[in-house]
């Protein structure tokens, strides 16, 4: 049984459109949404090819995990005083979502794609299409792949479990405020307070001097009381 052509092209078009939108859309929130759409297209593509378990996992990760994590990160890095996304950058308004070197990036990306497509096109004859196991076509890959993952690939599977745990713990540790940052914050606060104190003292001194300048002792004696009141 061969792959359903129209569905394959639909999945390919959806995932490609999503991928291009992810890298070209100005607003980062829209880019994250486009990434979720890309995940759906990719899921359809993989499902049509016949990798149903991988398709399910791809949909879970690419439309669920990655957008959720990235959106959370964007919320945490958005400055409440101004927009922190790609669309508007308060400091350098001339730079938009895309760096000025985008033609170079486009050239490199096109070169990469052309190279890969060229390799695929020129060495087509070397890739013999072997007989695809018929039971996988009839019943899908989920049951068999699950059995394989827990038997011959048990070690890598467990390794990925440990990796995910290490990533979660590591992310928490990295994102925590460490002592250096706390010290820096405290030093910054103390410096600001010291400057404020010095500024106030300087103002007091200037005010006192201006009050004394008019000259006669009667005024000078009256002023300190005045200042205490004010």
């Amino acid at each position: 049984m061969s792959v359903n052509g129209p569905l394959f092209y639909l999945g390919a078009a959806a995932s490609l459109a999503g991928a291009i939108a992810v890298v070209t859309v100005k607003d980062m929130r829209s880019a994250v949404l486009a990434f979720a759409g890309f995940g759906l297209g990719l899921g359809l593509l993989l499902l049509v090819i016949g990798a149903d378990l991988v398709a399910g996992l791809a949909v879970l990760v690419f439309t669920g995990v990655v957008p959720a994590v990235v959106l959370t990160g964007m919320v945490l890095t958005t400055d409440p005083a101004g927009p922190g996304d790609d669309a508007e950058a308060p400091r350098r308004p001339m730079l938009s979502a895309v760096l000025k070197r985008w033609p170079l990036a486009l050239g490199v990306a096109a070169g990469f794609s052309a190279l890969l497509i060229g390799v695929a096109a020129t060495s087509r004859g070397d890739w013999e299409t072997g007989p695809y196991p018929s039971e996988l076509l009839d019943h899908g890959t989920t049951a068999t792949l699950g059995r394989v993952l827990l038997s011959s690939y048990a070690l890598p599977f467990e390794g990925v479990g440990v990796l995910l745990l290490a990533a979660a713990v590591g992310a928490t540790v990295i994102a925590r405020r460490d002592r250096m940052e706390r010290d820096m914050d405290r030093a910054e606060r103390e410096r600001a307070e010291r400057e404020e104190r010095m500024r106030r003292r300087r103002e007091d001194r200037v005010r006192a001097r201006e009050g004394r300048r008019p000259g006669d002792s009667g005024m000078a004696a009256a002023l300190p009381g005045d200042e205490d009141g004010g």
Binding site: I49, Y132, P133, T144, L164, A167, A171, R177
Partner: protein, 105 residues
Amino acid sequence: MSIGVTHVLVVSALIFGAGVYGVLARRSLFGVLLALQLMLAGAEVALVGFARFGDASAQPLDGMALAFLAILAGAAEGVVAVALVLLAYRRHRTVHVDELDKLAG
């Protein structure tokens, strides 16, 4: 014309190319991160394509298992990358790659 390994590889190459463009051209670190995930997804499409149509199609589960594990590893990478971006933001108050140009401090 029936769908073969070349079709899948062309799609994979285009997704990978879009990811390369994003990594090089995006300003925001989050955009770069999404583009990296696109590159990873392109490679996964190629893995599944080879498993289904290529030389490995008589034994497709190896390629699919590799794609499965690669997707999980990519998810872990994304989580750590977001944590690093948060750290960079707290130290430098920006997530734009062109402003993060100090190597130390």
